[in-house]
Assembly symmetry: C3
């Protein structure tokens, strides 16, 4: 797992603010999980349930929390091993340096604005009126439509499509194949066929959002589709026109959000969850994978099933479901026995 130069444990302790229990001069070359770490790797123990793996690990050093004792190797003691792991991964795997500038094979239309510190890859297309912010990277083969705006320090990976009605904030990451700002799905049946309702709204992607590969976020019919600050969308997610996704929302892969939905801040939708049009999910609600939400889920709590119910109720239903064939037989038998009792009853 090592990609950079070796580091001493002393250097790592300083980088992550750890107390070192071991030799500050010992070197490691990478970071790896407990199972695969070797003597030249630093590993990490993020919870008590991994203690057994920590004892069996061949890691040269382990990042651990305050309450872990008796590890055989060097220990980098921190308050939060998870936070330290983020720092260590970035240290050993620095983001590749992308030199600023527009690649000679990119096409930047007249009237587009690309900050001098931004980079634009080969065969990228930036149409007229589009603006690319400082230090932002536009990958190879990525399309930014006329008038679209991309803020500072954002990354559009290769093969992204951003249509002209889209505004993207700062520190946003968009993965390959994502399509932002395609037309929403709106028609009126006039007796002869489905007539297209022009989709003239936009998309607003707020700061610190991450959009997964091949995910689609449609433009509004009128007004915007909004993805709130800090929200994270996994791969192959669909967000329909005029949805308002709040801040710090998690949408796991293949979630489908119909048009005009509202999702409250910090809600989490598991993989393949579906939400019907005009549906709502309240703040902080957690919805289990494959759930179907026909209308509304209130704030908080854990939800599951299709149609969705409180998870505790749904778990009882799933358990009872297994007894259902037996229940049918039992009721049939009961009916026979009751009939016999009724017939035997003195009139």
């Amino acid at each position: 797992m090592s990609a950079g130069a070796p580091y001493t444990l002393g250097h790592l302790a300083a980088a992550i603010g750890a107390t070192l229990e071991g030799d500050a001069g010992q070197t490691v070359r990478g970071v790896a999980p407990l199972e695969t770490a070797g003597p030249h790797d630093v590993s990490f123990l993020t919870g008590g349930r991994y203690r057994r793996q920590a004892d069996a690990s061949r890691a040269g050093a382990i990042v651990a929390g305050p309450d872990v004792e008796g590890l055989a190797c060097a220990v980098l003691r921190v308050a939060s091993p998870e936070t330290a792991l983020i720092t260590l991964l970035r240290l050993f795997h620095p983001e590749p340096d992308v030199p600023p500038g527009i690649h000679s094979l990119a096409f930047v239309a007249e009237g587009a604005t690309v900050d001098a510190s931004a980079s634009v890859g080969p065969f990228a297309v930036i149409e007229a009126g589009a603006r690319i912010g400082a230090r932002t990277r536009v990958g190879a083969l990525t399309f930014v439509g006329a008038g679209a705006i991309v803020g500072e320090d954002s990354t559009l990976h290769p093969g992204v499509t951003v249509r002209g009605s889209v505004r993207i904030g700062r520190r946003v990451i968009v993965h390959p194949g994502a399509v932002l700002g395609a037309d929403g799905f709106g028609y009126m049946f006039d007796g002869a066929g489905h007539r297209k309702i022009p989709q003239v709204g936009g998309v607003e992607i707020e700061d610190d959002v991450e959009i997964g590969a091949n995910t689609t976020v449609d433009r509004g019919t009128m007004g915007d589709t909004v993805i709130g600050h800090g929200s994270k969308l996994d791969n192959l997610v669909q967000v329909g026109h005029n949805c308002r996704v709040g801040a710090d929302v998690i949408l796991v892969a293949q979630v489908g959000i119909s048009g005009s939905c509202r999702i409250g801040p910090r809600a989490m939708l598991g993989g393949q969850v579906g939400l019907a049009d005009h549906g709502t999910v309240g703040e902080g609600a957690m919805v289990a994978a494959q759930s179907g939400i026909p209308s509304d889920v209130p704030a908080g709590g854990l939800w599951g099933g299709s149609p969705v119910r409180p998870m505790s109720e749904m778990r009882r239903i799933w358990a009872a479901e297994g007894m259902l064939p037996d229940l049918v037989r039992k009721v049939r038998a009961l009916e026979k026995r009751v009939r016999e009792l009724e017939e035997g009853r003195p009139a």
Copy 2:
């Protein structure tokens, strides 16, 4: 929401065939929903349930049907406000003018035919033998394979992939990331592994079809996969090899249609519906979101659930499902009480 020049209500009334109740010289600059419209917007009232919003609206004018009375602002009276809305949206948001011609950075192979009135964007690829019809737009970074045919007045947005076996009709719209004509999913297990069955058929997209972003329509194994006239496919839909989708069908986002399915005209499949291979959906059938169709759904009616059932039946099942854990307890109690009755019964 305003994008073009301001229009007088008199001009709008003429454009949509409305009777104006108000000042023909009053100007508006955009069209907007009742909630967000301001004094310089025209809005629309498409049904009685929005009457309250109409009364509260700050809109300068409202497009309304014949039976609406007592609105405070100017009224543009029409038979169908929905139809008028389509006209108004296009009026205020005209489609961007794309000049005809092949961009100097496009690649059009020798032996490809591009009509002089068509446009081809930067880094588009048109392979040998492909034909692009009159007034059709091929977006930047879009690929049209060898021998593929695209009819007149169609739009391939940026980042579309059309493989060589595909024929596309007139007035078709294909959104970014859609893939038309990739190989169907066909293998034969020969004991040692899955051997690929060559996929040599085509795809036929009939006139007036719209294909959503990142949707995939596979070529037939032999013969064609067909998307019928006027059908609309949302984003991230999968249509397998040799499917025949009828006319004016609606497939909502993330629907998955396995190989060799038949879908009748005017059927509507909700989001995330799945249809097993060789399955059929009859004319005009409506299938609720997340339904699973193991074989066949007849014409007409409303269907839901996985496996799918008539919606009325499925609704009763969903309601009863909530009583299931209680039912298990009740049956257990009944068994005890009946046993006691049986034991107490005079022999």
Copy 3:
């Protein structure tokens, strides 16, 4: 269906190792299913259930197994008609010849290695350190990131994105729009927001794998995501970080595999199946479409439902589900009758 020159039945018999019952000099020009074949087509009978279509077929010749008798047309007798079909399809529809070499409009960075027998299409991008093996085809508009490796005889269709952390084996086929090696979906909530966990691992695609259109396979957080030898992934499939998909696995369209899952060799997951993170599917297990796997499915057997159960059990539940509303009524009636019996019982 004919694409090449006509062939005599004698030639075809030699090509597929068949015994010819008919005129060796008779010519056919294509291969087609029984229903659509004409006198100049060869067709095939792959199972007894198609016998009626074979009798009604207008095919000039039929490929059939050893136990089929009494066909009216010429017969090409083989042990396995399915295997013969693969050969015939390839014979009548040879893969288009792609001349080796780098297209003048491709961008191959300094430090990338492209074998002289490989082909690279227009507007393809091969970044520094990437390696393209012998006879491999890189389609137009396809991106291969810095350091990525593609083995021999593989095909990356147009519009594919391969990020730098990916290693692809031999004879691999990747369809348009597929994204290999995008970041996995990993965050740590630190109270203020979701902090991104750097995704620094890779993707290993072993030999003979096929990856469908718009499918996504994420790179590992640390270590690799692996797609095993001979596995076939349909369109719009999601494979999360650090999954290990075994050999000869079938993942049908829109399957979603969360992070760190293990799928055993020869397992088959039907369309839209979902697998929760750290879930496992045992060797050879078959999981029906739309199933949801919350944790583990053992080897072998047929599974269905969400949450998943043995298919035989699930089938009984689905049948009983239809009786559930009736069951609720019956239990209510039984309670009344038992109460009456209890009240009528002599004290």
